[in-house]
Point group: C2
Chain length 198, copies 2
């Protein structure tokens, strides 16, 4: 006679985890980041608030987790062999992401909260910024191997110029973000790191 099956706690846990991420994704489109509460996410996902807090310390941490796969999917670093074109494509993809109002308001909220929440800041580096920076440096190193970029340029400075030009306009709103601007920043950043080594 078969032993009655107990519900598999691992599978139940995985289902709850996925339901919470799905509820977050649905609710943020409906009510926006600021209007979305942990209570509402728990209700939509059919779990208790404590289940959410078991995995995520805050709404920000949950929203960061929810967006991470989209960022990874949309910001895979291109490699067509043309370095300037690839860098411009990448910054254009970042601009495309923040043109999505739902993504942008979440991302602005995460950057805002990470100003005083160092744990969230560390998590954003780990999930969002460091992987993008590593991919950018990897692409730059390939260009160095292909002889398209001098072997002794400072890749950290290249990354600061390349992404800094974007964040300066996006976070401080000092000037409009356009794809033409992205192309100009890339050209100047590449000329800059090449010129600095001379």
């Amino acid at each position: 006679m078969p032993v009655p099956r107990e519900p598999d706690p691992t599978r139940r846990s995985e289902r709850a985890h996925a339901a919470i991420l799905t509820a977050t994704r649905e609710l943020i489109v409906e009510v926006g980041y600021d209007g979305m509460s942990i209570e509402a996410i728990a209700g939509r996902a059919g779990v208790g608030k404590q289940t959410i807090y078991r995995w995520w310390p805050s709404k920000a941490a949950l929203v960061l987790d929810m967006w991470t796969p989209d960022v990874e999917e949309q910001l895979g670093f291109p490699d067509t062999g043309d370095l300037a074109a690839d860098l411009t494509t990448q910054i254009s993809a970042v601009i495309g992401l923040v043109e999505d109002a739902v993504f942008s308001s979440s991302f602005r909220a995460l950057v805002a909260e990470s100003q005083h929440d160092e744990a969230l800041s560390a998590q954003m580096r780990q999930r969002i910024f460091d992987p993008r920076i590593a991919a950018c440096k990897e692409r730059l190193r390939k260009a160095q191997e292909a002889g398209q970029l001098a072997a002794d340029v400072d890749l950290d400075i290249a990354v600061d110029l390349f992404y800094g030009g974007f964040y300066h306009r996006y976070l401080l709103r000092v000037a409009p973000l356009t794809r033409a601007h992205a192309a100009q920043i890339v050209r100047a950043a590449l000329a800059g790191v090449a010129g600095d080594r001379r």
Copy 2:
């Protein structure tokens, strides 16, 4: 016989305004930006909360007003005739400002709140960012007149590279902020805008 003097309402108003700014400056050192309430500022200044709200819509707007003279005083753009040295001095002065923990926590809070408060964002541009950008471009134009910088470099892109490199590290905390980094960013940004025009 002299007419009894009525208290001068303009002067009384000026005194209240100054007392509020002084109370804000004292309290922010004592309890920090997050710990400081409009109630506490009103109490310290000897005015009602409504007097504060008559001039400032929020704590952030008041704190921005309080810091503006310090920023103006500490970030006057140098002009020694050596463009790269002056730009490096300027970024080093910005790094010096944010090394002050009281200033930095206020500035981070203002950048954070301005992500969802567009009126505050506009006020920050008007008070803090646009005057610095205008002074930077003025310095770059003088270098152009002196033949130290080509006449056709794009000054907006120069500004994005120059300040963007700072904000990338400061706001996202992706790498440490050092004066050596400031000098490298300046050299690369100058080489970049010069190289981009060729």
